[in-house]
Symmetry: C2
Subunit: 401 residues, 2 copies
């Protein structure tokens, strides 16, 4: 087992499998103050698809203080299945802080003594049933009908996430952002922010996310969608409140976790251990291996937080993303004027390094200042979350330039 | 696009997507004679789990001629979803020959002018509804009850496949085998043949298959199983004849294909092309990308050949495989006395190269003659099938030593 594997294994054993799922890699120097969830409202919002929604609400969190010039802002766009909870704790006894707490806080690379950090839930949020998420989406009441939108909620684009969050920053009087940063779907949004608002966004930190997904990534998301569509409770999206296709969502999460994790971690931590002592997997269909049991536990943990229609809308938004809403990734990246820090993981099989390097090459050809930092490690795509502290120095330095 | 990608793309466009699925890489020097499917019967067979089955039947094919000493035999063990149809054509107008036709035939690396090549369908065959497959499995009539076995068919181990095939060779009077070769699940069986019958098996050719799957591979197979279990027609395996969980099987095949293919091929051939002209995937949930459409087509192509109970039994057999039915891969490999040729693909994310190299290291420590040949290429796990001709010289040379 590598040291990195052992580190993860130790944490795993120490904290229990479920609690550490999105656990921070380094809990030191945490934000002192508890994090407060706030709500941003827009009386109307028109999607890029041309549908006008009324009474749009999204939750948001801030860490640090806005300076007088209102220009010390770093916006953190969240990943698929992620929320605005990027750092800190809601309650002092929360088991774990926000997902990027390792790099956001006083003295950390995204230094809350220097920057005012904002993160927000998105429109049609996947985790619509998470009590800490505030979102307007398919589960929300359509003011026109008095009933939940359900399948009548419009298709969304990642640009809709970006535009709603830009409106939030506008409402706070923010004049420009020092940087937009994000992991995975958050990195895609960070690119899109810079293409949509080139004078406004001064830096981009894109961790494990591309300016346009390749066919391989599109395929994985297609695979994740299938279990939801197969669940008898799915009903073409017309399930009643409280009757979500839970089993399909749980199975989808299994597939997602298997994709975003990596053999360096899975083999290092779980190996061929059985799920239960004395229950040889070879002797019964319902006896399994420890990793299978853990995949099932991830499904049980995340499934109940999700809304199936919202989940599929976001998968679609990722699959169809092209930075800058352009006809090609080249045309979209040409809209970006800000320096870019790209962090990728060689062992990532969801967001593959060649595609990240394609983006880097295009940006360099466009004459932009671009730095590529490979984040080595045993966890594949998940390095962008669990290994992010190892890119901390590069992020700190990039933000100070 | 690399040359290899372009080659695949050209074939794809030329022959149509479905026909080339398991197409041979090089159709030259085909077997002249048509291949005949034969049937081997055993009046009773006791599984390694201790269940005795009566009237066991499996189909088999042979290419070339058995010599007088009955010692020029190469047995080809098939992969998951593969059948005994390793080479040649059943009818002169068959669209494609058997899956390893590129290396099996007159003058080819597995030279049918020199060797007598045998391949056989396995017990509880996944493709039980393929009219070219002969197998005893869950869809077969249990002579005791007069009804199909269904869920009462016992768990199987890969050793059961091996033992039934050994009985077939015994019935042909074969005294020893020059080599056992196979890809993926077939490679696992090749290892197990050599561990089970160390004096009988003289060489092992293991392509893209390990002596014990790692947790990562076990996880992928778990993911493939989920869609079947979610299909309302699955009914815990108690579906009636003709009421297979078709949608679950098709979705499972999508996941399988996405896993065994690789971005070098998927991105090179499909890119971000839409499934249908004028149907922008961003504008409707049922508009998709070309690769999504192709994944669905694979599901539609393979799903109707499969039996769900058999499919799950084989996934289980692979997950729980340890060579030589030993307590550890080290103990199992210690039973092997024959030289081994291992072919692996660096880009394979199902059967990863580090696990193949683990096997190679153990065999070398045991003092065996082992050669490892990396099969580079854009197709990941599928290189073991579509790229096998590029390992042809290594295989030819190994068999002649």
């Amino acid at each position: 087992m590598t040291n990195a594997c052992r580190h993860v294994a130790d944490r795993w054993l120490l904290l229990g499998a479920l609690a550490v799922t999105w656990a921070a890699a380094a809990p030191a120097w945490a934000l002192d103050a508890l994090v407060e969830k706030k709500v941003f409202s827009l009386s109307t919002y028109s999607t890029v698809g041309g549908v006008t929604l009324r009474n749009v609400r999204v939750g948001y969190e801030t860490y640090g203080r806005l300076n007088g010039a209102k220009d010390n802002v770093i916006f953190i766009a969240h990943m698929f299945l992620g929320t605005s909870h990027a750092a800190g704790r809601y309650k002092s006894n929360d088991a774990e802080p926000g997902y990027w707490d390792a790099i956001i806080g006083p003295g950390k690379p995204i230094d809350t003594e220097r920057y005012f950090v904002v993160s927000a839930d998105s429109l049609a949020h996947t985790n619509a049933r998470d009590p800490n998420v505030v979102t307007t989406g398919p589960l929300s009441i359509d003011p026109d009908s008095g009933r939940p939108y359900g399948t009548r909620f419009p298709l969304i684009a990642l640009r809709d996430h970006v535009a709603v969050h830009k409106a939030l920053l506008d409402s706070l009087g923010i004049r420009r952002v020092h940087a937009v940063a994000g992991w995975s779907m958050g990195a895609m949004q960070a690119y899109d922010w810079a293409a949509a608002y080139p004078g406004y966004v001064q830096r981009v930190v894109a961790v494990g996310g591309s300016a346009q997904p390749d066919a391989y990534a599109i395929g994985w998301l297609n695979i994740w969608a299938q279990p939801v569509l197969l669940d008898a409770r799915w009903k073409q999206g017309n399930y009643a409140a409280g009757e979500e296709p839970e089993e399909g969502l749980a199975a989808s999460i299994r597939a997602l976790v298997q994709t975003v994790a990596h053999h360096g971690w899975i083999d290092g931590v779980f190996g061929n251990k059985w799920a239960a002592e004395g229950k040889d997997p070879a002797t019964a269909m319902d006896h399994g291996f420890a990793w299978e049991s853990q995949l099932a536990a991830f499904g049980q943990q995340f499934g109940p937080l999700l809304d199936a229609n919202s989940y599929l809308l976001n998968l679609k938004a990722i699959q169809t993303f092209v930075v800058g809403r352009a006809d090609s990734v080249e045309a979209g990246l040409a809209k970006i004027k800000a320096p870019v820090l790209v962090v990728g993981t060689p062992t990532d099989v969801l967001v593959i390094e060649p595609t990240l390097k394609r983006d880097v090459e295009i940006l360099r050809r466009n004459g932009l200042k671009v730095r590529y930092v490979p984040l080595e490690g045993p966890m594949g795509h998940l390095e962008g979350r669990f290994g992010i502290a190892r890119a901390g120095d590069a992020i700190r330095e990039f933000l100070l330039q």
